[in-house]
Amino acid sequence: MTQQPLLTVDGLSTYFYTDRGVAKAVCDVSYDINPGETLGVVGESGCGKSVTSLSVMRLIPEPPGKIVSGKITFDGQDLLSLNERQMRKIRGNKISMIFQEPMTSLNPVFRVGDQIAEAIILHEGLSHKAALERAVDLLKQVGIPSPESRVYDYPHQMSGGMRQRVMIAMALACKPKLIIADEPTTALDVTIQAQILELMDKLREETGTAIQLITHDLGVIAETAQKVLVMYAGRVVEQADVKDLFTNPMHPYTRGLMRSIPGLGEQEERERLETIPGVVPSLLNLPKGCRFHDRCRHAMERCALEEPELKIADGKHPVRCWLYQE
């Protein structure tokens, strides 16, 4: 683990300036991803997972959004100092994205082959014919049957799982070093979910691409990720290797998430499914102190007053909680 990380995000903060106030969607988030590694980012809806990844892609709509501080280094390049033109050369080429909704993420009026070919033509300057041939190969790679005829299909002729495969093929088109997958399986049914995750893992091994996998499903994380980032209300609350996290979850939020997954274990292991009471606080009106304290079963007096730091506790992994700090 002494190699240079592929992506380093350091102290990233992204705010949205709305009419009703400043929404601190992402606050002081730091992490890194090594080449060929999968980083899982978990949290409920509205925790800043997607905003974090859009910040890396520099796709935050400005205004109202703004990356207020932080440093994003990708492959030795400072992404925040690049202009729009240089950034476009990175998007789809070095970093690509897979979106949550395969049903709407493909342009309905173009054949899927042309959509895959677009990125190749754009970034590698291939002829349309050569790019289309490559699109056929890519479709084969992502497991679409009879790709030679499927490249001529329109998106509405494909099922959700197929379209997500097409999205993956598009993301892979220029052999990116990093793929950011924003809840790639949420809109799919369970059997297809497993197939897509398996496919992504297989492609990661084959191509050595790093993956930043955003999800709210810890099961997905357990299967595919090596490192995990748990986010809550725009903050990283726990950061660990996947093994560490599942054997020794420390933050009450992480534990709550784990208890709210239905288990398929033995009778005596099976308990009543728990929920975390309450909802994620509004980013416009964050509570004082620890952002999780009003939903936390271990909340102390101190939690409502001061916000804890992200500190390595028990010599294991960083966690943002007063339970482990003096």
């Binding site: 789809g92 690509s96 979106f99 909704e101 709407t104 677009e118 002729q157």
Partner: protein, 302 residues
């Protein structure tokens, strides 16, 4: 369409890769009135392109001997002048055939002007929003606030009366219609995921607007273009009738109406036939436009 639903499971080659356009044409085919409109438009297009072969006479050739001859079924009709002649002895049939060419030209030129400028400004307004949007759309509002024929008269008064200037005037007058339609569609499309996905693939703004978003806004635009043809023809005839468009002896329908207006009791055919041509042309484009609206509207698909 049934093949849309089954395409996932079957590999029926016939419906494999039917483009959205082909599907729309298929639906158009089922609509009888639209088909009538299409036929009328096709006939006019044919007349416009091949008019010089079809017309029996030179539309400008005058002859005092054959002055004000009635159409062929009436007594005293002259041989060779099917629809009769006007007060200069010119063949009416030839003149209205050549008139089709002029009206089609007016339609193409003025619709192109308003389509290109309207689409680009509407797309920019919808895509960038903010002050650009406000600026562009308020200018459009001002244009819309003035009655179109009045505005066209003002423009022609500035540029001088000629067919060319009438086309420019008609083009300018209908820019806001296109701009508003395109802006609305772009606003709607902008928020869709495929736009973000294309951006994440490294597409530039221009590429996003013209390659990804605009093709998705085509349906209402095609309808408006077709209907725009009808109103352009009508407005050109109106301007020419007022003496601000085509100048005599150009065989323009509106100008022919103006020229024959004094003869309406003595020689009704001089004004009736150009009038019928205007009516048919406008009707044809309107029927086709309505049919296209039904064919392209996704909500009306079965």
């Amino acid at each position: 369409m049934s093949c849309t639903q089954t395409a996932n499971t079957t590999t029926d080659a016939s419906c494999k890769s039917r483009s959205p356009l082909a599907e729309a044409l298929l639906r158009l085919h089922k609509n009888r009135t639209a088909l009538v409109g299409l036929i009328i438009v096709a006939v006019f297009a044919f007349l416009a392109i091949f008019g010089h072969w079809i017309a029996p006479h030179d539309p400008l050739e005058q002859s005092l001997y054959t002055k004000l001859k009635p159409p062929f079924w009436m007594p005293k009709a002259a041989d060779g002048f099917l629809l009769g002649t006007d007060d200069f002895g010119r063949d009416l049939l030839s003149r209205i055939i050549y008139g089709a060419r002029i009206s089609m030209l007016v339609g193409v030129v003025s619709v192109s002007i308003s389509l290109v400028i309207g689409t680009i400004s509407g797309a920019i307004a919808g895509f960038y929003r903010g002050w650009v949007d406000i600026l562009i759309m308020r200018v459009m509002d001002i244009l819309l606030a003035i009655p179109s024929i009045l505005l066209a008269i003002v423009i022609v008064a500035f540029l001088g009366p000629s067919l060319q200037n009438a086309m420019i005037a008609i083009g300018v007058v209908s820019i806001p219609r296109y701009a508003r339609i395109v802006r609305g569609s772009v606003l709607e499309e902008y928020s869709k995921d495929y736009v973000q996905a294309a951006r994440a693939l490294g597409a530039s703004d221009t590429r996003l607007i013209f390659l990804h978003i605009l093709p998705n806004c085509l349906a209402p635009l095609i309808v408006q273009t077709t209907l725009g043809f009808a109103s352009a023809i009508l407005e050109a005839a109106a301007l020419s009738f007022l003496g601000l468009g085509a100048q005599p002896p150009t065989p323009e329908w509106g100008a022919m109406l103006a020229g024959g207006r004094a003869l309406i009791l003595r020689a009704w055919w001089v004004v009736t036939f150009p009038g019928i041509m205007i009516l048919l042309a406008v009707l044809g484009f309107n029927l086709l436009g309505d049919g296209l609206r039904d064919a392209l509207d996704p909500r009306l698909r079965d």
